[in-house]
């Protein structure tokens, strides 16, 4: 437990002290902020709400959901270079590894969100920020992470190489497109609206909007409701499913790791480069 925390904190610090990773921490938030900057005075249809205000919570929700992707990518990378096998070779290594991964991914995400949220609040008008709003923000975020990170771990154990890992990026983008993050889901065709509402991404976006927007903005949502109960229920279901599935899949994957497997993958990776 303690080693897991230490591990997570060390990895977190590393991700903010090396060039390429630091760049990726800032790239998306900065791009998003630029987009928000240009949208900030544009109205959304005839509703009288500012598009920028509507988009910011959605972007936050999406970023949080992207933790799923980075979780799965890191898991695949760690499997490829033998980090996971190392965890297997030391006592209680796998448990510490997983705790460490959750701490570093979730921690990195929170920092990313802060990078986005703080300037976003200054840039965008029409947000509501009472203590009840902050409370909603926190529970949606926490529940959202518990719902998405185990799923990310499952995806990470299914794909064996960094290359095949790239394949999950496409469906993720499609998912984000139909999740009503950038545009209210009510504007999509009915069947897409249905699919979108199955994903945790949609509900995290909705939860964020409910946390950061004034009450009147609810009119653009499905059923003109923030549906907090449903949000908790859907995210909760994903969380339960993920937490049940992840240990099984991870154990299965870890059992199959051995020195020669790692060496084999390394050979293959080298051949690709050559």
């Amino acid at each position: 437990m303690k080693t897991g925390w230490q591990r997570g904190l060390i990895e977190l610090r590393q991700s903010f002290t090396n060039g390429p990773e630091l760049f990726s921490h800032f790239l998306w938030p900065v791009l998003m902020l630029a987009a928000l900057f240009f949208l900030r005075h544009r109205d959304f249809g005839s509703t009288g709400f500012l598009l920028g205000a509507l988009a910011l919570p959605g972007i936050l929700g999406m970023n949080a959901a992207m933790g799923m992707v980075s979780m799965s990518q890191q898991l695949t990378a760690d499997r490829e270079d033998g980090t996971l096998l190392r965890a297997k070779a030391v006592p209680n290594g796998m448990v510490s590894y997983l705790i460490g991964k959750v701490v570093s991914v979730a921690g990195g995400l929170l920092v990313d969100l802060a990078i986005l949220l703080i300037p976003g609040l200054l840039l965008v008008d029409g947000l509501a920020l009472g203590s009840a709003h902050w409370f909603t923000l926190v529970w949606v975020l926490v529940l959202g992470l518990v719902a998405t990170l185990p799923i990310g771990a499952v995806l990470g154990s299914v794909f064996t190489t960094a290359r095949s890992q790239g394949l999950i990026q496409l469906p993720m983008l499609a998912l984000i497109a139909v999740s009503g993050i950038f545009y209210p889901i009510t504007a999509l065709p009915g069947w897409l609206e249905g699919i979108g509402q199955l994903t945790p991404v949609y509900w995290m976006g909705l939860g964020m909007r409910s946390a950061l927007l004034p009450g009147e903005a609810v009119v653009v949502e499905v059923g003109q409701s923030w549906r907090h109960l449903e949000t908790a229920a859907v995210l909760g279901l994903w969380a339960v499913a993920g937490l049940l599935l992840a240990p099984v899949v991870l154990r299965r994957m870890a059992r199959r790791e051995s020195g020669s497997k790692v060496a084999e993958r390394r050979e293959r990776a080298l051949r690709r480069v050559a």
């Binding site: 080693t3 090396n18 980090t83 190392r86 030391v90 020195g259 790692v262």
Partner: protein
Amino acid sequence: MVLTVDGLRMRYGDREVLHDVTFDARPGEVLALLGPNGAGKSTTIEILEGFRLRSAGRVEVLGVDPAAGDERWRSRVGIVLQSWRDHGNWRVGELLHHLGSYYTPYKPAWPAGELLDAVGLTPSAGQKIKTLSGGQRRRLDVAIGIVGRPDVLFLDEPTTGFDPEARSEFHELVRGLAAEQGTTILLTTHDLDEASKLAHRILVLAAGRIIAAGSTAQLTELIAGEDEVRWSVDGQAFRRSTADSTGFVRELFATYGDAVRELEVRRASLEDTYLTLVREQA
């Protein structure tokens, strides 16, 4: 016994890579698994490490079946694999210290600073692991393998890519571990010279079978090729292969006396016999 392997078999599909491998190791013993590539060395060591499930046979490491080893068992086993390139972004001292802390619930780990000193990595303690050279990386792997003061240590091809100096330093370290800490060591190598320098006992593995076992001297005797005797009498050169070179030479002097010149006796080298053995199996 620290290691007990009895009738170990391993099959991948219908290809059998280990046939009936049997050996054991006493506390503090250094055992070398010697054999050409593809002989089954890595498979054997991975089964003992608990990373691979065997097809049949009895295997015990520290009295426990590795397939069912718990975390306490894990804390007594040190592992150095063939190729690590993990934790590239971590710093050398940081990783060693961190991994050492996994063992503290069971026993005091080796202090990172002291251990870095022992493997000669103190100047690189603050360096990122991905910037280490091959030999430095290998020494770090060994340090990680022994940071928890294991009772048994598995080394898979430990000196691949070492220069002669690093190799001899490494041999020193391994001998010290066995002698001072009482660590039982099983290492794989395809280098006969390394095996005979390090190991109390050598197991020759070829095509999935142990074809010979014993100390360097025993092996030489067991699978001894014949010694070669060369000499000349009256300017004429002779050459003879014999199992009993001492007796043959005594005979020679008895017959020719001072006329025997340019006498040369070449003992059968283990290298020659090992190569012959391995070739016979293939």
